[in-house]
Symmetry: C2
Subunit: 334 residues, 2 copies
């Protein structure tokens, strides 16, 4: 299998991306094409022992910045950017999947312009894995920002795509799907939620009803469907609340010598919590609904996260996610 | 000053409500009317030494349950409920403010039916104090559930009401007001946010722009304005994420004997974190936009939270919040 990787994407690119790609090629027996400025990428590659590993470099002279404010315009203007050149490879079926830790909005725009949507899909969705007390330790949330305003039909399609992904790639049997609402009871919700619920009931998924904010980390469902505005607020708020809690805790733990000793003894426990909440193990989340496999990693990805994101791209291909989504759509129409 | 208190409202009513009311009468020199089933409330009162305290009981034979699914219907049907009888007192100006730890939806419905809205206010809002790294240690969020679907004009009015409340009662000078969005940059947002921002710019408040989810606990603003759907998801998600983090931490801390010792030594620090995140110190949050002072406490309020909620009701009256909102509205129109 051949995975194309955006060597210039991510806060720590290209060095950690190249490092992660080398690890992926070695550990996972994948063929990898690194797209980016040849000189820089090659120099990074040369730092690694990669004898016999199927790693190649494809030149792309431009880079879409991580803080680009108008990603759609950037994708149009920067035709020789690593993001666009890599996406072209997928379009021409010269690679099986694309992984980038770059600008997620640019990945979305480039995928829409170059790959287009899966036939029948109204809108693609950005997704993420979110810590939760499910048996697998997380849930799968979408949309987290591709569509600030949604229609009921979009959410029903997100539910199918999320369900397919959770089952095929995350290995969750018959995943429970819930919709975010301002109350668990049937009938609660804004207009969008109220109009979406009947569609979800009529969709061939395991729909379990409304999920309140507190239920999401509490494991009430494996797939959490919401509009891109609410989804974006959810993942960023969770980040903010975790940071606030940890900061206050740190402050309090260093406020006395006894507490400091306590904190020291408790450090392995703290580290373990950090690991359990860590996105690095999953490495990325798919851009669902576009006609190709695109996995978007966290901007702050380190080499381990990159390696795992590339693994996720391979798993998405292996498990036939695109085909399964198409079947799911047909089933619903049928 | 005379505060009317819903003796039957809250998960732990009436005993903790009566206890909190006795504390408020003693500590804060307030006249308090407890509304509820006379026999039960009187029996609770008799457990306390309340010589000379201005506490009276007003009989109301019915109770609106905490888990009532249709609060508006309940308010209409249960005319002799503590919630409705207390609200009638405010309407007749027989008391200055109303505090309840009961069903917030029922408080909203009862206030709308009995008190009506402040002239010019399109929709009332439920609010809450939310932990944040502001100088005062929290921000003020509204709406958190009264209006699942909002129009830009509603949000602009929420901004005025929140700003007045933060300044008058929470003591924040020239409070910074932000609107929740899916990106900090101007122009980001769903349609509602994009249409609201120009109104906020034209409103005589200290509008500081968009707040992403992560910025809310991070102290970016003193007043956070959002629709009732998103607001509800925000406060409940924060509760869920905190609980998940603390549960995982507890689990990890008890997984080895060394960690256990660490946890023991660190306990005062943990307790301090808990206190800093504790709603009990504020006791309640106002229902803003109705023509009367109504403070809604957390359903799980204990006696200390009830006492502080009653204090907040008194402060809301003392600081002329209703008048100031009316002035703020007039200023905006002028």
């Amino acid at each position: 299998m051949k995975i194309v990787v955006d060597a210039m994407g991510g806060d720590l690119a290209p060095d950690v991306v190249v490092d992660g790609a080398v690890q992926a090629a070695r550990d996972l027996e994948l063929e990898i094409v690194l797209v980016g400025q040849r000189g820089t990428v090659q120099a990074e590659l040369d730092k690694h022992d990669r004898a016999g590993l199927p790693l190649t470099v494809l030149h792309a002279s431009e880079v879409i910045a991580m803080d680009e404010h108008n990603p759609a315009a950037a994708v149009k203007a920067l035709k020789d950017s690593s993001m666009v050149v890599a996406m072209e490879m997928i379009k021409r079926h010269e690679a099986d999947a694309f992984f980038t830790a770059g600008h997620s909005g640019a990945a979305l725009a480039a995928a829409l312009f170059r790959l287009g949507r899966i036939r029948g899909i109204r809108r693609p969705a950005l997704s993420t894995i979110f810590p939760s007390q499910t048996p697998q330790g997380y849930c799968f949330v979408l949309d987290i920002g591709a569509n600030a305003d949604c229609k009921p039909e979009y959410l029903a399609q997100f539910a199918i795509m999320g369900s397919v992904y959770a089952e095929r790639v995350l290995g969750v049997l018959n995943p429970r799907v819930a919709i975010v609402s301002n109350g668990e009871e049937e009938g609660k919700g804004n207009q969008l939620v109220q109009e979406t619920v009947p569609l979800l009931r009529a969709t061939p998924i395991n729909f379990v009803g409304n999920a309140e904010g507190k239920d999401i980390p509490w494991g009430v469902a494996d797939v959490i469907v919401t509009d891109g505005f609410t989804g974006n607020v959810i993942i960023k708020l969770a980040e903010g609340v975790s940071r606030l809690l940890m900061d206050i805790l740190k402050e309090e733990l260093t406020s006395s010598n006894v507490s400091k000793v306590g904190a020291l003894l408790a450090k392995p426990a703290f580290d373990s919590v950090k690991r359990r909440l860590d996105y690095r193990e999953y490495g990325g989340a798919p851009l669902l609904g576009v006609d190709g496999v695109v996995i978007v990693g966290h901007g702050r990805s380190d080499a381990w996260a990159i390696r795992n994101g590339i693994r996720m791209a391979a798993q998405t291909v292996e498990n036939g996610v695109l085909e399964a989504i198409k079947q799911g759509l047909a089933q619903r129409r049928g």
